[in-house]
Point group: none
Chain length 194, copies 4
């Protein structure tokens, strides 16, 4: 008795995640160029041939992973598009972000590798990303202004550098880096309630 269409759809979604999960695990340890389709297939527990039923090419698989990684990280910042309501909300968001870095080293390793690739530039400059980023910076600007910072634009850059810097250090060597020192510093400086 053949599977229903519904069942097939479920299988397809599961299989796709299975494959992407395997690929992410491998890509976080090695460069995509150094990970073969055969290796990914084995890690995912499927045949090489089946891979091509889910992704037209290795490039498309890489792109899918890039997209879902970016999406995952964007989601952290967005919190469903709501405005930053005050120091507590800001604190929550920062905590969410740092916790995510700590709990998803693989994702962030991929993310940091990605932003260094020249083919990512166009991607990061795409309207979608720019929109999210622009909106987020606006939120931060308003929040920091409300908090009494003279040059909120400058502070945004500083916070961004701090987060990027400590994240890259952390994913490079999680066992040697105390990421919370920077987290607390950011909260101390930018989430003080007056």
């Amino acid at each position: 008795m053949p599977r229903t269409e519904e069942q097939n759809k479920t299988i397809r979604v599961e299989r796709k995640q299975q494959i992407m999960g395997a690929a992410m695990r491998l890509f976080s340890e090695k460069n995509p160029a150094e990970v073969s389709i055969a290796t990914i297939a084995k890690e995912a527990g499927v045949s090489k041939g089946l891979m091509y039923s889910y992704f037209k090419s290795k490039d498309e698989l890489e792109l899918s992973i890039m997209n879902s990684t970016i999406d995952e990280i964007m989601e952290i910042f967005l919190v469903s598009n709501k405005v930053i309501e005050g120091p507590d909300d800001f604190t929550n968001r920062i905590n969410r972000l740092f916790d995510h870095v700590i709990n998803n080293v693989a994702t962030w390793k991929i993310y940091t590798q990605l932003i260094l690739q020249s083919k990512m530039k166009e991607f990061l400059m795409s309207p979608k990303i720019q929109d999210v980023m622009g909106w987020y910076q606006e939120q931060l600007f308003n929040y920091l202004q409300k908090q009494g910072f003279e040059d909120p634009a400058k502070e945004i850059i500083i916070v961004g550098a701090l987060i990027d810097g400590i994240s890259i250090q952390y994913v490079s060597a999680p066992e040697f880096i105390d990421i919370n020192i920077v987290r607390n510093h950011i909260l101390d400086v930018y989430a003080k309630k007056y």
Copy 2:
């Protein structure tokens, strides 16, 4: 008559730099794994075969570039091993560092890519690197203590994160990032003269 040994040495030194320069240019744009020896040879204007007269393997070439990149960056920090004498000296060092980032984007792009590679971990943990890093942190610690900071160790981490963060942003998209905002921030906070 055959070339003198002197002449051959000169040729070999020049050629080697020619090849390493070409490789650095390409490695800064793409992952080494995605850059073929043939491409490097063409960029360097030499034949594929000659590459192997200067580097036993592609791996050795990559390693050479890793080493020279690390050496170059270490040199920025060391300033002939002298202690940090005061705010002016600190300012000079920070300027030297930021100027180097601005003028050597390729080198720093490679550097940031390198620290994400797992095979680099052992390298960065090697005594040589750890020595330099340890010595440098000691210098910074003493300087920041003299400057009146309560928790110099914390400040070192923050400055490190700031520098790493803004550098990675800058080398990713130099035309969009105003690296000097962070430079001035660091100087404002840590090089104030009392």
Copy 3:
């Protein structure tokens, strides 16, 4: 639907023999070092890439052929491990051997090439080979003693030299060498019935 495991096994066994057959044909004419994988693939009627699905490397292919050649030749001598029962049995064995040389020039060409390779020495000195050889010499010794030869050990060396010598001559130029003269000589001298 995918092929059954059984079907795949059959395919792999056939293909492997196809490749080894082609390689033996070529190796019997030229030194393995002078025969490229591309040539073997063409002779076998498969793609270069497929070769590596059956043999991890060219070296492994050469080794496989060495092994199967040695095995084939050992088998000639063993005759199911039975003792040499008398002149008739001895005659049969000698005939079997000479017939095999005549009908398998390629195999013997490879065999003679092999015993000259220094890397074969350790192989020929391996316990497995030494066991078979030792057992066989013992059998011969007993037989020749029973036949009334004063110094059977000496005769074994002479017979061995005769066989090796005429074989190498025969496989070098089958059309010019009358191998049966030596066959008859051996039978005349060592299989006379009293």
Copy 4:
């Protein structure tokens, strides 16, 4: 002061022998195809370039060695073209031959490798070689006839097989083979004085 033409000629002859000697040493251990010109040059203590002033190509070098090896071995048999005068002369020739095998394993290793190569066939079938061989077989025939052998042609084949067989065994593993057993056997059978 430039070298005289005489001196140059001497140098050239010496250099050539130096190179051929080095090549023979290496060829006796490894297949020519596995020995690079660079290796031969280093072993001979000359530059790669110089090799080409003495031999137009690697092939020509191999051919030169083939020729000189064959010449050297032919010389053993010929003894200045004199007829075989009797058992003592025959004994001397056999001894000369066996001693040469024992003292020139490298040469004989090359020789045995050579006769298995298909490109050697035409060489061995060349008039020059055939002449020498023919003449030598005639000598042997006459000698053996005089010694009272019924079928000298058959004996020639047997002696040839014995010598080839024991030689190939000896050069394969000199430390395990007692070549003199065959030498004595040949002398016993074919150099008995009546």
